[in-house]
Amino acid sequence: MFDPGELNFIGPEIAVFVFALLVLVHDVMFKQRNATISMGVSLMGLATAAVLNLLNMQAVDVPREAFAGAMAVDGFGFFLNFIVLLAAAGALLISHDFLRRIDVDVPEFNPLVLFVAFGMMLMGSANDLILLFISLEVMSLGVYVLCGINRGELASAEAALKYFVMGAFASGFLLMGIAFVYGGIGSTRISAVAQWFAIEGNGIAGNPLIGVGVALLLVGFGFKVAAAPFHMWTPDVYQGAPTPVTAFMATGVKAAAFAALSRVLLVALLGQNLEFHTALWLIAAGTILMGNIGALVQDDLKRMLAYSSIGHAGYLLMALVGAPAAGLADNPRLGGILFYLLAYTVMTVGAFAVLSFFTRDGVEDTRISRLGGLADRHPAVALALSICLLSLAGVPPTMGFVGKFYLFAAAIEGGAIGIAVVGAIGGAIGIYYYLRPIVVMYMHPEPADRVELAMNPAALGVLGVATVAVLVFGLVPGSLIEVAQDSLLSLAAWGGV
């Protein structure tokens, strides 16, 4: 049954895991650990994983199962792996100087990030709900700890506790959902669920077990991707967690959770049932509006980005509403989901890199008013942050615009004009609050008690790369979009939709 050759397919995961262990050993072995070596080895782990992932991507033309069907080896998973690796690398680089400044000297940080990335990557390829659950827990446990890594800070501890309690609750929902689905269908394979639905006469209607199971799954995922009405934890946790961790949560955790949700929805569930579709519609609309309206009134940039991240989850759900019943090939524009996850990761990491500069005596201070006069003091940083924010707002010619364009295209191609209009309204609200930091940077004077920005090469590098990528892929998105679309279409191999 077990074929050692299949280990190739989890090569990237293994690489990240092994390097995490190496870093852990290094960090605990030496009393005076060398932070640079620890960082370097961690990044090497991510780079190795990226190379292995690329090799896998080229080697596997036709999607296939591995490990007795527990894992799906397909373009969708490969694409997600890249997003996760990018998010992890960004978070690590931002954290390097930041942790020193807030006086958090814990050897566990880098290994934890790698372990979390390991969980995320598995999540994106899980073809079995049990594997999905386990990898989600691997990810979540690490993130709970990372949230509270700044033990001296009350907000950080609060964030960790809140996220843990709420997260455990959501995991419970997810597990219950899996159990119900298993009870109804007799399998936890996502592709098996799809095959079951494909049989004439099988559906949610008349099968209360499945109905309840699907609803519970939706709640569990809704929590993880911060969809309304399960988004309440997001602002507090995002604000309380140290900035690099928040960046990692907003990008990596969201991408992984959304990938798992998309896989379950697109492979197994969508196009089955009208009631279910309505629920998704309502969740998407609520998420778009709640996130964007909530962000309007925030005075703290980090908290604003937390609310806006809810809005972005809404746009992604909007695209899923447009998923066709007839088959994925009917709506290739859905590839925009992967493109947007990547775009969102890049521009968000860029914005958080700038946020990480704002500390005062070891305490974060990310009020928007702190940005005053930034354009005069550091024009390049102000310009880069503006580009990232405009990209988040979806203004051309940026990657964020192209991504959003495709999400709208996916929704409209699927006939979901109504939700697209809601999305357009959300986008217009978004413009307002994304402009605010830009207004402050360019049009307000410096605050009287300004502190020097704690700029450091690592975070500046992240910012630079993110900004260039946002512009380049905004102007010539063609090939990247093709890859994203092919990757998403690989899901079609699993039957169902």
Partner: protein
């Protein structure tokens, strides 16, 4: 010069990069040089464009076409530019006004000069791109690209309430354009369902035939975006704020070119794409235009701030343009396009003049002035000429455009035209009254006695506008000849007979591909 249009469009953007990087004094001249060169390069367009010549198949008026070069292949999005007679004139207006504005800002902008000049050049690329784009996606990108520099120009170099005005300007425009984006996407899918291939080119999208209900909503989405830009009553409220707060250069570009993009959008996109809805809603839009004319004029009459007066007069004048557009006949639409140019020149000049005295006195209140004719005679003469042009005195450019627009629209919407024409009379009243209070009367205020008259530089940048005011008033023929075939071609599209049978059939087709677009969610 195969790529003349692209060169003209992107030269300012390339120049902007250099301008951003150079110190203030150099940036001024560099920006002037770049925008001047752009103008010089655009002059040959006038000769290269042949109104009677042949361009694209089926669209002989669309010439100097470049592309399509594939850009985002899977939706048929490509880089494609070209101009018809209408776009040609607006491109020339843009390339002419930009160096004038940059030159005029030499004395009014002293802080962050290189950024200001750089933003002006980026803005020019945005405007030119929106005029020359033949691909809807490309058009949308340029349409949004314009917003960012304008937003900064108002927000950084504007008056006391600049941030509010800048944000309001941005939000209003974006709300409209996002809904338009949704409509553009819907058009792509309809086009694919009907023609079997993906295309974002406007000339291909013209072939889409839509069921009335769908067409109605898509037209609304497009029309809202453009109506905000024009601006039409009742979505005009961002304009007075933006105009009054913007620095002189910003106001001139805003009034001179940006507003034209709204009416141009109607003419290029909303009307020919959705002929049934256009005719159906024509009376409503004509009615709103007429209300706008009268309302703008009445509000302008009671302003005590010159700049605000000019701002409201824009609402009024653009109402005339809209009336002309929705006349659906050659006179009306030609007059309307002519009026776009006139308004760009005369209102642009008015804003420049307001800027000139504001620089000297730091007030724009009408009550502060009076008797300028004796203190600054050259200024007063220019002001008078521009005012007469603005109110449409025969012999100057304003008369031709206004007369043609109203003449044309009288055939289509007699009542709205009668109401609108009365507003034009009000227009004469508030402008003349303003001139009377500012220029004539006794010279009582000591500060006004010490005013310096127009400098050589100011005369230099006002001269081209003044010359055009006379030329276009006395010899309108060449301008009308350039645009008329294009106007006719567009009208042919707007007035095309919609084959109802085809609509029903294609409704069944597109119903498969775009589920629920005309029946709610699936």
């Amino acid at each position: 010069m195969d790529h003349l249009l692209s060169i003209i469009t992107f030269l300012p953007l390339v120049g902007a990069l250099a301008v951003f990087a150079s110190p203030g004094a150099t940036a001024r001249w560099l920006a002037l040089g770049v925008s001047g060169l752009t103008f010089l390069l655009s002059v040959p367009l006038w000769f290269l464009y042949d109104p009677a010549g042949t361009g694209l198949e089926g669209w002989h008026t669309m010439q100097l076409v470049e592309g399509p070069y594939p850009w985002i292949a899977d939706l048929g999005i490509s880089y494609m530019v070209g101009i018809d007679g209408i776009a040609l004139l607006l491109v020339l207006l843009t390339t002419l006004l930009t160096p004038i504005v940059i030159y005029s800002s030499f004395s009014s902008v002293h802080e962050k000069v290189s950024q200001y000049m750089g933003f002006m050049l980026v803005l020019e690329t945005g405007m030119l791109g929106a005029f020359v784009a033949l691909d809807t996606f490309l058009f949308y990108v340029f349409w949004e690209l314009m917003l960012i520099p304008m937003y900064f120009i108002i927000g950084i170099w504007g008056g006391p309430n600049r941030i509010y005005a800048a944000v309001k300007f941005f939000i209003y425009t974006v709300v409209g354009s996002l809904l338009m984006l949704v409509a553009i996407l819907a058009l792509y899918f309809f086009h694919h369902a009907q023609q079997g291939f993906w295309s974002a080119s406007i000339l291909d999208l013209y072939h889409v035939v839509l069921p009335y209900r769908t067409e109605f909503w898509l037209f609304i989405a497009f029309a809202l975006a453009f109506a905000i830009k024009v601006p039409m009553f009742p979505v005009h409220t961002w304009l007075p704020d933006a105009h009054v707060q913007a620095p002189t250069g910003g106001s001139v570009i805003l009034a001179g070119v940006l507003l034209k993009l709204g009416t141009f959008g109607f003419l290029r996109y909303a009307m020919p794409l959705f002929p049934q809805a256009t005719h159906e809603l024509g009376p409503v839009i004509a009615g709103l235009a007429a209300i706008g004319i009268v309302y703008g004029a009445l509000v302008a009459m009671v302003q005590d701030d010159i700049k605000k007066l000019v701002a409201y007069s824009s609402v009024s004048h653009m109402g005339v343009v809209m009336l002309g557009l929705f006349s659906f006949n050659t006179e009306g639409v030609s007059g309307s396009v002519y009026q776009m140019l006139n308004h760009g020149l005369s209102t642009g000049a008015l804003f420049l003049l307001v800027g000139i005295i504001y620089e000297r006195r730091h007030t724009r209140l009408i009550a502060e002035y009076g008797g300028l004719a004796t203190a600054v005679p050259k200024f007063s003469v220019v002001m008078l000429i521009v005012t007469f042009s603005s109110i449409g005195l025969p012999g100057l450019n304003g008369f031709i455009g206004e007369a043609l627009s109203l003449l044309g629209s009288f055939h289509a919407h007699p009542v709205a035209t009668v109401v609108g024409t009365s507003g034009v009379i009000f227009g004469a009243v508030y402008m003349l009254w303003m001139v009377q209070r500012v220029i004539f009367g006794p010279l009582t205020n000591q500060a006004n006695k010490e005013l310096t008259d127009l400098t050589g530089r100011e005369i230099l940048y006002l001269a081209p506008i003044l010359a055009l005011i006379f030329v276009m008033g006395l010899a309108p023929r060449p301008f009308l000849q350039v645009m008329e075939p294009s106007v006719d071609r567009v009208l042919q599209q707007v007035n095309r007979e919609v084959d109802l049978l085809a609509v029903t059939e294609s409704a069944a087709h597109s119903g498969d591909a775009v589920r629920g677009a005309h029946g709610g969610e699936r």
